[in-house]
């Protein structure tokens, strides 16, 4: 195809968690605009493997914007220049011939680099484990239609629930704060009637774990919301703050 592009990539290469990393330049030629960003990297990697070199490591799985695995900081922005999508949904038609593209891993104390562009985001799992659940054993549930939930509330809870746990919010935030993620998780359950019994315990436990993981403090810059591929709103953060303060300051300890 005539509209193929030639690009220069500057990719963060780091052998393992302990090694020192650096930006390394690669040439990506004949890139079709119909390729996804990750497919472009696949092609570069095929070339590296053929030379016997170590391919560029990055996390990815579903390649359709839902698993939250992919996580590249592209030209200064998580998931690249477009809004509301993940890196795997980014297509090369968003770039121009002869562009230089800088690709870095998520940078945060809570997301240490494992290798190249892959980071360890298990901190998110630990936050969820601390309280992101409703304590209901299998088998004991009442009929699903016993509790009607107004559509607006169900929809609002759903909006919070769409978070894919990618960590772009942390990556975008100048403070590497995980507030958008945590608040989305807290909000989903705080909004629903099923989540009420543990509401106060949940928010306290999850915030405590978030702090323990070394994420920064929110200064309400809104970068998270702007970069979140699922367009989660920072209203969730306000809601979580409210829940947290009322739990801490006005509820008796549980």
């Amino acid at each position: 195809m005539s509209n193929n592009m030639n690009l220069t990539l500057k990719v963060w290469r780091q052998k393992n968690a302990e090694a020192k990393g650096e930006l390394v330049s690669y040439q990506a030629d004949h890139v079709s605009p119909d390729m996804s960003f990750l497919e472009m990297l696949d092609v570069v990697n095929e070339g590296l493997i053929k030379k016997g070199d170590d391919p560029i490591h990055f996390d990815h799985d579903c390649r359709e914007g839902i698993c939250g695995s992919c996580s590249l900081h592209i030209n200064g922005r998580p998931h690249g220049p477009k809004q509301g999508i993940t890196t795997c949904q980014l297509h090369m038609r968003s770039f121009n011939d002869k562009d230089t593209i800088v690709i870095e891993p998520w940078r945060a104390e809570g997301f240490p680099v494992i290798k190249d562009l892959a980071t360890d985001r298990s901190s998110f799992d630990r936050i969820q484990r601390a309280g992101g659940f409703i304590s209901v054993n299998t088998g004991g549930a009442p009929d699903a239609n016993v509790i009607p939930i107004p559509k607006v509330i169900a929809d609002e809870a759903f909006n919070s629930a769409t978070c894919i746990g990618c960590g772009a919010c942390v990556a975008a935030c100048k403070n590497a704060s995980a507030m958008l993620f945590v608040s989305a998780k807290v909000s989903q359950l705080a909004l629903l009637p099923q989540g009420q019994p543990e509401r106060s315990r949940r928010v306290q436990a999850m915030v405590a774990q978030m702090d323990a993981e070394g994420f920064g403090s929110c200064t309400n810059t809104g970068a998270c919301e702007a970069e979140c591929p699922k367009e989660i709103s920072i209203t969730n953060i306000a809601r979580m703050n409210r829940d947290y303060f009322s739990a801490k300051l006005f509820k008796s300890e549980e």
């Binding site: 393992n16 696949d42 095929e46 990815h60 839902i66 290798k115 088998g139 549930a141 099923q194």
Partner: protein, 644 residues
């Protein structure tokens, strides 16, 4: 070994209740003395691990992703069936059972399917209690949509991401048990082999994907919940990491593999654009509720479209062939997947395909947009339309989508009995990894149902029946079988790492995919399959000579991971071909050109093929042994499926 499916006696509707009563129980105080390994944390694995831990068992759970939440169940879009009859439209457990058996083209076990339909109602309750935000009506009650292959509305959904919401529910239950110390979670761990002692599963060997450490883990029982093997086709709607490795290793250790050739080709996916393509994206089946499938009436028109001489919007109603509505007036665009896919292929084969490649048909929303308004359509399908536009750079509100079938789901899998136990004692298979409930074709919205049924409501009962026969003694990895199995794993890794040829692993994978798609895809022939078998054998031996695997074991090495998976796919591919060759009838997703009705529909041969083919591994490069489990239908009458 004679296959015993352990189907309980008695009337269909009472089988499961009676069976639950007859299963042996583990004394509550003893439960904590048992350890169960759960490989996989998708819907099946996460629900099983959480439920077993709630009962008191110690669970070790494994997944290869960096988080249990990223298992490929996350990607399911459309919905999950539940025979709740909330819509008062005539649904019932029996109807869901009947639809599933019929949809599966009468190649599934009645008893299993009935149980599935029976527990489907509990699944919905369980998920709602966990906080899964299903779509609701203004009155606050749950909403339903209809799905292919059924005439009632019983599909529960959460916008276009039902899978993610269900998985997050199961993941939260799992998290709660991890937090309580009942589940130990191993992420970024790949299961490399099963350890058997005297024919019973006693543990697994894993590789830590970060540092390459080969570890052994012992348990009283092992559950494989490792998903489907659609990636054997290279291009599929599955995630990049989906693999057959765990199931395949179990197969080589004695677990029979059932109906491997039964793969589902989903009719509505975004067509391939070029060689660089790494995966295909599904457009949810729910789109067929409002979208109309069509192709140009003549080859000439299609030709002009492909060349760009005319635009799709120029085509008049008279020039369009709404082929599904025309051929299947009763079900129209909502015919089951296999039927819809095959018809799209026929159109393309006739030269009436569209798009630059000519390998696509249209899915058109113009009529719905005119009837409901663009906003209503956006509210229903907005995220899917956006996804489509993102990938194709075309606006589906303004022009029809181009779609084409793609590999989506594998009905085949490890053979299991009614208790979900494989032919290896103590080794169970759940979810897409087993073959159990969908016969030759799966109905939409029933895989999520099956995964959760297996994990939440079946295995917690049936695994106890086995554990009650095993002494509640602590387990360890001291038995020599662990060291031996580990050695096998290490040797294979070393062999892979020694490959320093000139062709990348992905190139082999792509070639394998081409062969499978061409000869073992939507239409299969004796001749083609035989040819494919030869091609795969060549490819396999070439792989072990000329592939390139870079790096070392003791590091994060994605190239090595992939090499191991592709090597297993190469072996599986051959078995799929064997299975497809054996089954000379057409049924469900398996369409043998030699066996069709005069109208070109799949022609089953119940006389000779009403069985499940379970294959036994007999040694490297040895033909596998075929065992037949006869399917007995006591409740439904076998008829030629008709959706006209």
């Amino acid at each position: 070994m004679k296959l015993d499916a352990k189907i309980p006696q008695g009337p269909l509707a009472e089988k499961w209740s009676k069976h639950k009563f007859n299963l042996k129980l583990v004394n509550p105080a003893n439960k904590r003395k048992y350890t169960v390994i759960v490989v996989g944390t998708g819907l099946a694995g996460a629900s099983a691990a959480a439920s077993l831990a709630e009962l008191g068992y110690n669970v070790k759970a494994f997944c290869f992703q960096d988080s249990p939440r990223r298992a490929h169940s996350i990607a399911a879009q459309g919905g999950i069936n539940g025979a709740k009859n909330y819509q008062n439209d005539g649904d019932s457990i029996y109807r869901l059972f009947y639809d599933t058996i019929k949809g599966g083209d009468y190649r599934a076990r009645e008893a299993n399917v009935y149980r599935l339909a029976e527990v489907s109602v509990n699944i919905i309750d369980q998920c709602v209690a966990q906080g899964v935000p299903f779509a609701r009506e203004y009155g606050g009650l749950l909403d339903n949509r209809s799905f292919g292959g059924s005439q009632v509305s019983r599909t529960f959904y959460a916008r276009g991401q039902t899978g993610q919401q269900l998985l997050l529910g199961a993941y939260s239950a799992l998290n709660r048990q991890i937090n309580l110390g009942k589940v130990t979670m191993y992420t970024r761990h790949e299961m490399m082999d099963v350890v058997t002692v005297d024919g019973e599963a006693k543990g697994i060997v894993t590789r830590d994907l970060i540092n390459g450490a080969i570890e052994t883990h012992a348990a009283h029982a092992v559950l494989l919940c490792t998903g489907g093997y659609g990636n054997v086709f290279y291009l599929s709607t599955n995630a990049m990491g989906c693999n057959v490795t765990a199931a395949w290793k179990a197969h080589k250790r004695g677990a029979y593999f059932a109906n491997p050739c039964f793969t589902q080709i989903h009719p509505t996916c975004i067509p391939v654009t070029g060689d660089h393509q790494s995966k295909l994206t599904l457009m949810s089946e729910s789109l067929r509720n409002d979208g109309r499938v069509w192709a140009p009436k003549t080859k000439e028109l299609a030709e002009k479209l492909r060349k760009g001489e005319i635009k799709v919007t120029d085509l008049k109603e008279d020039d369009r062939d709404y082929f599904l509505e025309r051929k299947y007036p009763a079900f129209g665009n909502l015919v089951p997947r296999d039927v819809a896919s095959r018809n799209a292929k026929e159109i393309v084969d006739e030269g009436r395909g569209v798009g630059t490649s000519g390998i696509a048909v249209y899915l058109d929303f113009a009529e719905s947009i005119a009837r409901l308004g663009e906003d209503a359509v956006r509210a229903k399908y907005g995220n899917l339309f956006d996804m489509y536009q993102q990938i194709t750079d075309e606006n589906p509100y303004k022009q029809p989508m181009r779609i084409y079938p793609a590999v989506h789901y594998t009905m085949g899998g490890l053979w299991v009995d009614y208790n979900l136990q494989t032919t290896v004692k103590g080794l169970y298979a759940l979810g897409e990894a087993n073959f159990s409930d969908h016969g030759a074709n799966r109905l939409g919205a029933s895989a999520l149902m099956q995964g959760l049924a297996d994990g939440y409501f079946v295995i917690p009962y049936t695994v106890g029946d086995y554990l009650a026969t095993v002494a509640p003694k602590p387990v360890d990895t001291s038995h020599p079988a662990f060291e031996e199995t580990k050695k096998v794993v290490v040797e294979r890794i070393n062999k892979l790492l020694s490959l320093k040829g000139n062709k990348t692993v992905s190139e082999y994978h792509r070639e394998l995919g081409h062969i499978m798609w061409e000869y073992c895809g939507m239409a299969r022939t004796e001749e083609g399959l035989k040819k494919a078998k030869g091609l795969i054998q060549e490819l396999k031996s070439d792989f072990w000579k000329n592939a390139i695997v870079t790096g070392v074991n003791e590091e994060f090495n994605q190239n090595l991971e992939n090499a191991g998976r592709v090597a297993d796919f190469l072996e599986l591919g051959e078995l799929m071909i064997d299975d497809a060759l054996d089954r000379k009838e057409s049924c469900g997703g398996h369409f043998r050109l030699e066996s069709q009705t005069p109208e070109g529909e799949a022609l089953r041969d119940d006389e000779n093929y009403a069985y499940t083919a379970a294959w036994e591994f007999k040694g490297e490069n040895q033909p596998e042994g075929l065992h037949k489990e006869e399917l007995v239908f006591e409740n439904v009458k076998l008829t030629q499926r008709s959706y006209k």
